[in-house]
Amino acid sequence: MAGLALVASGCSGSESKPAAAASAKPAGCPQAWKAGWQRLANRIHSKVYCPTWMPSPIDAKIGGQWDNGVSVEKDKSYLVSFLWHEPPSQDVHVNFRGYPGRTKIPRCEDTEVVGGKARTTHMPCFSDPHGKRHLGPITATMYTVNRGVDQWHILYAWRDHGSLYAVSEHVIKPLTYAKVVSNLDRMVRGLVPVKPTK
């Protein structure tokens, strides 16, 4: 029954009750989510952005029900992913990324077998910029073609004090492109910085 309730919630396009009020100015990282984001900031010794609103039905509790994994690379860049999946092909999938100490768009690798030979190409992980979005203190560039785990996502990226940050969401049923853009606007507008405490 819980699954059915989630499907209904997703299809209707309604939003889960935000962990923090969706009011104009976010107060801070929601209490229930803060510990995970703080641990991440401490782990990479750099600022991370914590959301205060997430599209239904997922939340942004690292280690919670919708956690789809946290990965931190040697260069301290991170990926935090949240996913709701309803077979066969409905998702709400949001990725948060940070690249501390670098602002260049990362390169992604793609391998395809053509004529029996594996061909590897390298390309920007985020491409096809579609203008700027001014969302509270953040001015993000919207990218519509993204690679790797951000493939088929719309991605907002911005630079802050020598670091690059990004949030992306998958364009897939039950969401439309317009709904994803609206979700990203709301998510990025609500982001709050979490600084390392140790």
């Binding site: 053509v114 491409s127 088929w152």
Partner: protein, 461 residues
């Protein structure tokens, strides 16, 4: 503007569907300019449209496509012994329409094309004698369509007897003519499908394809570049990419033996297919550079955001260049892979004395955007796999001198070059032009008789 489901769907009989515009009623509401005006004329060829405008877009000469298109397919149901009467009735009706409408953008260009089942079933002896023969292919100029390597297994190879292609800037002209023909041919022809669509005339604003796709709520619609002629964001009617008027006539390039009576002199061949386009995959998985690589040619220098890319004869790709692109990048461009088959490889003096220079395009495309899924109306919805709601796609209509000539072009698009070399690809892989986002649902080849024999050809013999 978002349409309700009720507004998008048209049901009922063929007659009702012929008289209905459905979602396409929006075309004239969304288009900026009124239908263009041009001089009246009727050529002996059926496939030519007079008075087409040529404009410069992004510095490239572009033939302005007609705004509204419709194809009606049918099966002959009249008994064989009534074929001569049917011929007279259809000829009279078509002549009446000729009188009423000039074959111009503001009038009505219509083409009657006949499928192999008609010739084999109704006029087999005369067809044996008079159907044109392709000397190069050593095959009849008209043969059945096939599934090409990048086609899915479910592509339906159709067996219609006849197809009527209507083109006009004025939708009402198409609706009236299609309805008149259907009414007059009751008991003679049974409509099997109705296919509708439109082309963007690049007249500013968001452009018809984007506005129509957005109104229909098609996934990926928001990502179509403003002002584009087609859903895929590039112009396809560059003057240099379309064959000059009479080049596809059976007799022009000397490919075809017309037989002793030259019954089909002035005729041509038409291929008709329907293709779904996955706009979301196109715009979310392939960036502008990828889209240029796969639409035109890998690493072709094109300024970001360009929609109209020049395709002059002097820059036509050779087979060795396509092979080099494949070896180097693992990718073939749609246009470049086609060009060794679709462009003249040498200067040719046509049957009418016209000199067609090396690099000239042969096919005359008349393809158009559609939101049909896959058709506007079908007599057999199960067979045609009629889906619910609108879907982005293309009704691909192209005139070539023969079935084999079209097949050579289409095979080249899959990496099967005219010299027989096969560039290996997994079907619909990213390297294989833009086949990766296309899905062909239906195909059929037709013969287009000259105007004088367009009604039940050979039935009078």
């Amino acid at each position: 503007m978002k349409l309700t489901r009720k507004e998008l769907l048209v049901g009922g009989a063929a007659g009702a569907a012929l008289g209905a515009a459905g979602i396409y009623e929006l075309v004239d509401k969304l288009a900026d300019s009124s239908p263009s005006k041009a001089a009246a004329a009727h050529a002996p060829e059926q496939h030519l449209v007079d008075g087409l405008r040529v404009e410069k877009k992004e510095g490239v000469e572009v033939v302005v496509p007609l705004r509204h298109h419709e194809v009606v397919t049918a099966k002959v149901i009249a008994p064989k012994d009534q074929l001569r009467d049917a011929r007279a009735a259809l000829a009279a009706e078509l002549k009446k329409l000729d009188t009423k409408y000039p074959a111009t953008p503001d009038g009505l260009a219509f083409t009657v094309a006949w499928g192999l089942p008609y010739f084999q079933t109704y006029v087999p002896e005369a067809a044996d004698l008079h159907l044109p023969f392709d000397r190069r292919a050593k095959k009849p100029a008209l043969f059945d369509a096939v599934r090409f390597p990048s086609d899915p297994e479910e592509t339906l190879l159709e067996d219609n007897d006849v197809a009527f292609l209507f083109r006009s800037d004025n939708e009402e002209n198409i609706r009236a003519a299609a309805t008149e023909i259907a009414d007059r041919m009751k008991g003679v022809l049974a409509v099997t499908s109705i296919r509708k669509g439109f082309a963007g005339q690049m007249d500013g604003g968001k452009g018809l394809p984007k506005e129509m796709a957005t109104a229909a709520g098609v996934p990926g619609a928001d990502l179509i570049p403003d002002g584009s002629e087609l859903f895929l964001g590039f112009t396809s009617t560059q003057r240099n990419a379309l064959g000059p008027p009479k080049i596809v006539n059976f007799e022009t390039l000397g490919l075809v033996d017309l037989g002793s009576r030259s019954y089909f002199h002035g005729g041509t061949h038409m291929h008709l297919s329907h293709i779904f386009e996955d706009l979301e995959a196109w715009y979310l998985n392939q960036d502008f550079r990828d889209r240029v690589n796969t639409t035109f040619r890998p690493h072709m220098p094109v300024r970001p955001g360009t929609q109209t890319v020049a395709q002059p004869p002097s820059r036509v790709a050779s087979e060795s260049e396509v092979r080099r692109d494949y070896d180097r990048y693992g990718v073939i461009g749609h246009s470049s892979s086609l060009q060794p088959a679709s462009r003249l490889q040498q200067n040719i003096r046509g049957d009418d004395g016209t000199l067609y220079p090396k690099g000239t395009a042969i096919p005359q495309r008349a393809d158009f955007n559609t939101l049909d899924n896959p058709f506007f109306w079908s007599a057999d919805p199960k067979r045609d796999r009629m889906g619910e709601g609108p879907a982005a796609g293309l009704h691909f209509v192209v005139f070539n001198p023969t079935s084999d000539d079209f097949h050579r072009n289409r095979l080249a698009m899959d990496g099967h070059m005219p010299d027989g070399e096969k560039l290996e690809f997994v079907p619909r892989s990213a390297g294989q032009g833009f086949n990766s986002i296309l899905k062909t649902t239906h195909r059929q080849n037709f013969l287009v008789p000259p105007r004088r024999h367009r009604a039940f050809p050979l039935a009078e013999l």
